[in-house]
Symmetry: C2
Subunit: 198 residues, 2 copies
């Protein structure tokens, strides 16, 4: 059997916790219980050092950006930490390089603001956290901003709405990469039959 293909979740200071860990749960449960599907998921930060997330949780990434290896899919979460990143030319270069090397470039929440600043969303449909829809349009007026979509699958770029939407996007990714049946099995494992209080 060939080596598994890798999904990399990027971690950074002030990443929103659930933006990263929601998709991590979905994707890592899938990769753990169905290894024959041929995928693995990992986390990485620029320098491989622990990050302090937006609400104060500290997470230790599995590796640095230099050590993570080839990524078939990249996931950029959102959070307050995206604000400095979207003005950081070095980070935007990095994101463009990931996109060129990857098959699918995905984001959760305000991760899409970084993609917009890097020019990845030009002329494409995309979404973000409800409170940042205006910022997304301002960063690149050629983006077709989809305010009502839970996630937007535009082929090689997939963006999600705010925070918890990353769970739905990750399940949709499993459906796309394997089958709707597999996605339903992962959903059953995490018992995702949401009943938000009114």
């Amino acid at each position: 059997m060939s080596d598994p293909r890798t999904i990399g979740i990027f971690l950074f200071d002030d990443v929103e916790e659930l933006d990263a860990v929601g998709p991590w749960e979905v994707l890592s449960a899938w990769c753990t219980f169905w290894p024959d599907d041929g995928w693995r998921v990992t986390t990485f930060s620029v320098d491989g050092q622990p990050v302090t997330a937006a609400k104060g949780l500290r997470i230790v990434p599995h590796s640095s950006a230099a050590e993570v290896g080839p990524l078939e899919i990249v996931l950029h979460p959102g959070g307050q930490g995206t604000r400095p990143l979207l003005r950081d030319p070095e980070h935007l270069d990095r994101v463009r390089a990931w996109h060129e090397a990857a098959t699918i470039t995905t984001s959760v929440c305000t991760g899409s603001l970084v993609y917009a600043a890097a020019g990845l969303l030009a002329g494409r449909p995309a979404t973000t956290h409800w409170a940042s829809l205006d910022v997304l349009a301002e960063l690149d007026p050629s983006i077709e901003v989809r305010a009502d979509d839970r996630y937007v699958d535009d082929g090689d770029v997939v963006t999600s709405a705010g925070v918890s939407a990353g769970i739905d996007m990750a399940l949709a990714l499993v459906a796309r990469l394997v089958s709707p049946e597999r996605s339903a099995e992962v959903r059953r494992y995490i018992q995702y039959d949401p009943e938000p209080p009114p």
Copy 2:
């Protein structure tokens, strides 16, 4: 103003990632944006050292059990790591001591198996991950096992169904501690309008 009351999320090796981080997201967003509600949330492990969660994510707790201070609310997540814990007399003593000192003792997923083993659920209604409902009944046949509830609020003990159910339970906790309006505001912040793929 008096010191905020503290909610402590217990971390341990092989804790299921979303069991802990789902409620963390809800509760930490609430405590960050509405500090006047008078609550704070923190994470702790027995010895304060980083834990490796069930799917391989490493999380650094804020403190040890000895240093965390008085907890008004304790949250015990689930995950494979609960299996050794529910046979560990020292941990069961610890859990009973937390319950005696706290106002509300909560669990997500198989966290309730530990509570059952500690005798906290005797004669009470409770729930757990769908795959562990039988184990819950075996651990203490006096438990009224609720297979179809997303979470069970029995006053000073609140148990949840599997993994993602902790998000709903945490939102319900905010509604109970403050108001349904506050819970709806937190839900809006995390854009929790789930659309699981079919």
